[in-house]
């Protein structure tokens, strides 16, 4: 079955494009120390705010640090936040969704009520509120983004569970007397995986956007650690003098998120059960 997916996947050019970009970014993040021309935190005040040149490919920031190196290291931050935040959201969301969809009844009602409440808050504002009360650092950011992301996933998983629950193989498993937990994890879960995967991919893009917005506002990753968002903060302050500080980090964000979105949409087309009729 996975072979079918792979074949279809290869046909969807946009999704492939997205996947290639993501792989490139991942590799960049891992080998960052090897490819960055300068130390991202090395200040050189004599050469601050220099436009792109042969020496500093993308220019320097307000403290003379090389922009290209900072953007390369920023890849690490963004990818880390994306994966961890979405990872948290998936774990909580899938678990609650499975329980909610499988057992139904009062547990379902309770969990759904909780989901509704969480969804009432404007997500971003909730994140801001919580971070205002705790201190802004990368770990809090990841956890909070994850904690605001699970409600949507729970609804999704629950919906899928409700439809899969009635299929024969689940009934058979129950008749065989398998424990509920086993049925949920071994039989139910693999069949609801598809939309989870799609949501996760799209979610990583969203998490990266959120993290960069938070860092931009000064409530995310703190300098001197380089994050695309907090480079843009300096970009805003020096917008009339150093356009490169505003352009390039934003471009990096754009490309990354676009790649994840393309991959996510591609996955959605590939894993769509309606197309199984082929």
């Amino acid at each position: 079955m996975w072979k079918i997916f792979w074949r279809r996947f290869k046909r969807n050019r946009l999704a492939l494009f997205g996947a290639v970009i993501i792989l490139t970014l991942a590799v960049t993040a891992i080998i960052a120390p090897l490819i960055a021309p300068f130390d991202p935190n090395q200040q050189d005040i004599l050469h601050r705010l220099e436009p792109p040149s042969a020496k500093h490919f993308l220019g320097t920031d307000d403290l003379g640090r090389d922009l290209l190196s900072r953007i390369i290291y920023g890849t690490r931050v963004s990818l880390l936040v994306g994966f961890v935040a979405v990872g948290i959201a998936i774990m909580i969301g899938t678990l609650l969704g499975l329980f909610s969809g499988y057992f139904g009844g009062r547990l379902d009602a309770l969990i759904m009520r909780l989901v509704d409440i969480m969804l009432c808050f404007p997500t971003f504002f909730l994140i801001l509120m919580v971070i205002a009360f705790l201190e802004p650092n990368i770990w809090n950011v990841m956890v909070v983004i994850g904690l605001t992301g699970w409600p949507g996933l729970t609804r999704l998983v629950r919906g899928e569970c409700l439809s899969v629950r009635e299929r024969e193989f689940i009934q058979a498993a129950k008749a065989l007397g398998l424990s509920n937990l086993r049925i949920m994890l071994v039989h139910l879960l693999p069949n609801v995986m598809a939309p989870i995967l799609v949501a996760a991919t799209l979610g990583i893009g969203g998490a990266i956007l959120t993290e960069s917005a938070l860092s931009f506002l000064g409530l995310g990753v703190q300098p001197p650690t380089a994050s695309w968002g907090n480079i843009l903060t300096a970009g805003k302050d020096y917008i009339t003098m150093a356009w490169w500080l505003s352009l390039y980090p934003g471009l990096a964000i754009l490309i990354t998120v676009l790649a994840y979105n393309l991959l996510g949409e591609g996955l959605r087309d590939v894993l769509d059960p309606r197309m199984m009729a082929e």
Binding site: I117, F121, F125, F133, L232, L254
Partner: protein, 325 residues
């Protein structure tokens, strides 16, 4: 129909309770708790002064009593006084709310009038150049960080071209303008924030209306009307459109809270005097009463938006009222 509304309203009550509960818990998260918030963690405040402060504000009572007392005040919209200037929080919020609402409603209208036609035309001419182009545009719209776009547009229109003002709601000499002058000034200040605000929603809504329209076009009754020999225009405008509109309209209702929430990013960038900006400034200056107040009002407006969306849906979709009978 009426009972549907009443039922929805009743549903809202536990949700509201939940909101207040979560907000209350968030307050407790602050290091040192509310008492230290009030004294600003200043080491100069002695231990007994703090103890007296706690007693004064009832912070030494058990936590569920604290919650109850707080809840009673919140219901009356009494959020206390701001830490920064001592004015009542609710006053400050009400001052800023019209500005935010103005921006959001106008953005919503903009989104509606642009995204809808785009989506519909995309669906009607599926896979055409227009459709593919729009899809690309939509993808970009999803992926672009709005604050970055705001910066770029500010750079382009405000700094380089100098066409539009880049901050605030009024110019400095606003009061000297004639009525028309005032209106024009307001419009000029509105254009950039409105556009940025609408951008994200545009992408989403046009995608959604396209999907909805496609779904409708596949239906049998469309095929019937074509078989009947109706001109294509009538098929689309009279039959398909109306049915495709139903889910779109509800989506609009749901978008309003989204705008309110995301509003403060561009409110901050453009120095637009709205509620979002108030919230952001409060967060930066650790003005907790204001943060709580804005948070609850925002959640409340979200609920309201959902309610309006649901009622509109029930209103517009005849199938729902059938079920009530």
């Amino acid at each position: 129909m009426l009972e549907y509304i009443v039922r929805r309203l009743l549903f809202m009550i536990p949700l509201l309770l939940g909101i207040t509960l979560i907000t209350f818990m968030v307050i407790q998260l602050s290091p040192g708790g509310p008492a230290d918030m009030l004294t600003g963690l200043s080491p100069k405040v002695g231990a007994e002064a703090k103890a007296r402060l706690r007693h004064l504000y009832g912070l030494d009572k058990p936590i569920h009593i604290q919650y109850w007392l707080w809840l009673k005040r919140v219901v009356r919209f009494d959020f206390g006084e701001s830490f920064k200037d001592g004015r009542r929080v609710i006053t400050k919020i009400l001052e800023r709310l019209p500005a935010t609402l103005l921006l959001n409603i106008l953005s919503l209208l903009l989104i509606f009038f642009i995204a809808l036609p785009i989506g519909i035309v995309s669906a009607v001419r599926q896979d055409s150049f227009f459709d593919k182009g729009m899809t690309l545009f939509v993808f970009l719209g999803f992926s672009v960080p709005t604050f970055w776009l705001a910066l770029l547009l500010m750079l382009l229109f405000g700094v380089i071209l100098g066409w539009l003002p880049i901050s605030g709601m009024h110019s400095v000499n606003f009061l000297y303008f004639s009525l028309w002058g005032k209106l024009w000034d307001l419009i000029q200040h509105l254009i950039l924030p409105m556009f940025i605000s609408a951008f994200g929603g545009l992408a989403y809504l046009s995608r959604y209306s396209r999907a909805s329209m496609l779904e409708v076009l596949r239906q049998d009754y469309i095929r019937t009307s074509r078989a009947k020999g109706l001109p294509e225009k009538k098929v689309i405008y009279r039959h398909a459109l109306r049915n495709a509109l139903i889910p779109i309209v509800t989506l609009l209702g749901l978008s309003l809270p989204g705008l309110i929430g995301g509003g403060f990013i561009f409110e901050t960038i453009f120095a637009w005097p709205g509620m979002g900006r108030l919230g952001y400034q409060a967060i930066m200056s650790r003005d907790y009463p204001v943060i709580m107040g804005v948070g609850i009002i925002a959640a409340f407006l979200t609920l309201l938006g959902n309610l309006i969306a649901d009622i509109t849906y029930a209103f517009v979709d005849p199938r729902i009222s059938y079920r009530q009978k």
